[in-house]
């Protein structure tokens, strides 16, 4: 595979996609502009803000620091897919109830990062929550409410398992 235009096939939120992409197209631009999945946001475009976070093969990554061409054969999941599957309904509800968002620009990336933490560590401390979301900027909330929301979901999920 070489050249400035490349044919890639991948699954996005469970759907098989085959598209021709420019080599220089980042994953987040591909999702937004070719597939109209605009839930992943474009913020800083150099890996600092975390608004573009998506899952590739089960791991969270910066959508602005990966090329669409690198996702040939990959399994990509976005906030739209996780929402439709009901995987993060409790996190979304907790964010709403605790005012863990205002403008909402960071929220998709924040929720994906929080879900990633809760999948690895069912009972994180507040410090661990802060550390895990350290790569996600929120300019509205001051983070306190976000940490509250993630902590409450961790507790609820842990309780549900008992």
């Amino acid at each position: 595979m070489s050249g400035t235009a490349l044919d890639i096939s991948l699954t996005v939120n469970g759907e098989r996609i085959a598209e021709r992409v420019d080599a220089r197209t980042t994953l987040v631009d591909f999702l937004r502009e070719s597939l109209a999945l605009t839930g992943s946001h474009v913020g800083c475009e150099h890996g600092v803000c975390g608004a573009c976070i998506v899952r590739v093969n089960g791991e969270i990554v910066r959508g602005c620091l990966m090329l669409a061409a690198q996702c040939d054969g990959a399994k990509v999941e976005t906030i739209e897919g996780l929402s439709d599957a009901g995987e993060i309904t409790d996190l979304q509800t907790a964010f709403e109830q605790r005012n863990a968002l205002q403008c909402g620009f960071c929220t998709p990336g924040m929720v994906l990062t929080a879900q990633d933490l809760l999948q690895r560590n069912g009972a994180p401390t507040r410090e661990e929550i802060r550390e895990h979301i350290s790569g996600n900027y929120c300019r509205c909330t001051g983070y306190q409410a976000i940490v509250d929301a993630v902590e409450s979901v961790a507790q609820t999920r842990a309780g549900a398992k008992k």
Binding site: L6, H46, V61, M66
Partner: protein
């Protein structure tokens, strides 16, 4: 802010990568991409070709052999972070890992990429310097090994040749008397350091020898503070701080004077880690 156009080629062998680097002098190697793609987005770099080396087999292993720990160039930070061999035999690298980037960055970023990029405020080049590590590279004339102290030349500059590919890094496996210390000050956890310090020494009780202090964020490359090392080997922490042989310059994060002060603060913390290791 979008990259300038480039071609993309995913290679399967080192030979292919080396040959393409020869044909396209402005090509760049794509490993984790966590620094490279940011520079492409900002058009600080405009290569005509990206050579994606992620499909090359044999560059993702971590092994303990011949008294050394060898880490393949494509080992990702997340993989190193949870690795038992690294925790046991390369504890300094294990200590540094949580400071490197954020979870989504660590899932993609590679150890080889961090070394080859040679950011002066990055953790891993300093760790290699503190451990007297080595770097394996492959090029048109075959393979060679470069000591860390000879590898980092200047700001984002290494002795890697234009057609060479970094394939692995290697550090001596920790013996019973190896002590390590690590401390970093960053504005936000996971960001590049304002000042950081990676250190190793041999220890016998509180007595230290072979002290190696490698600072980062204080110059064009990671730097040893040799006068401070000598003072610390005599057990003189105050003397080490007072005689700290660094001349950091001002940058966007702090003035040189502030950095120098912070370097002394870190030295006291790291000296304690070296002299009083947790049992």
């Amino acid at each position: 802010m979008k990259p300038a156009p480039f071609a993309y080629k995913k290679v399967r062998t080192l030979e292919e990568a080396v040959a393409l680097l020869g044909e396209h002098r402005d090509a760049r190697l794509l490993a984790g991409g966590q620094s490279l793609i940011a520079t492409l987005n900002m058009r600080l770099s405009q290569p005509s070709l990206l050579i994606d080396i992620n499909g090359i087999a044999g560059l993702s292993g971590i092994a303990h052999k011949n008294g050394k720990v060898e880490i393949g160039a494509l080992v990702r930070h997340v993989q190193a972070e949870g690795n038992e061999l690294i925790a046991k035999y390369a504890p300094l690298i294990a200590r540094a890992m949580p400071h490197i980037g954020h979870p989504a960055i660590r899932n993609r970023g590679t150890l080889g990429g961090s070394i080859a990029f040679a950011d002066p405020a990055a953790e891993l080049p300093a760790c290699l310097l503190a451990l007297d590590g080595e770097i394996d590279v492959a090029g048109p004339k075959g393979k060679r090994t470069i000591r860390a102290q000879d590898f980092f030349k200047g700001l984002f500059e290494t002795t890697l040749g234009p057609q060479e590919v970094l394939t692995a890094i290697r550090v001596p496996a920790a013996g019973k008397d190896l002590r390590t210390g690590f401390a970093e000050l960053a504005r936000r956890h996971g960001d590049y350091a304002v000042v950081g310090l990676a250190a190793s020494a041999r220890g016998d009780g509180k007595k230290l020898s072979d002290v190696r202090l490698a600072y980062f964020g204080v110059g064009n490359t990671a730097l040893r503070a040799r006068k401070a090392e000598a003072a610390l080997a005599k057990g003189d922490i105050d003397g080490a701080v007072a005689g700290l042989d660094l001349e950091p310059y001002d940058d966007v994060q702090a003035t040189g004077a502030v950095k120098k002060h912070l370097a002394g603060v870190l030295l006291r913390r790291v000296a304690k880690q070296l002299m009083e290791p947790a049992a």
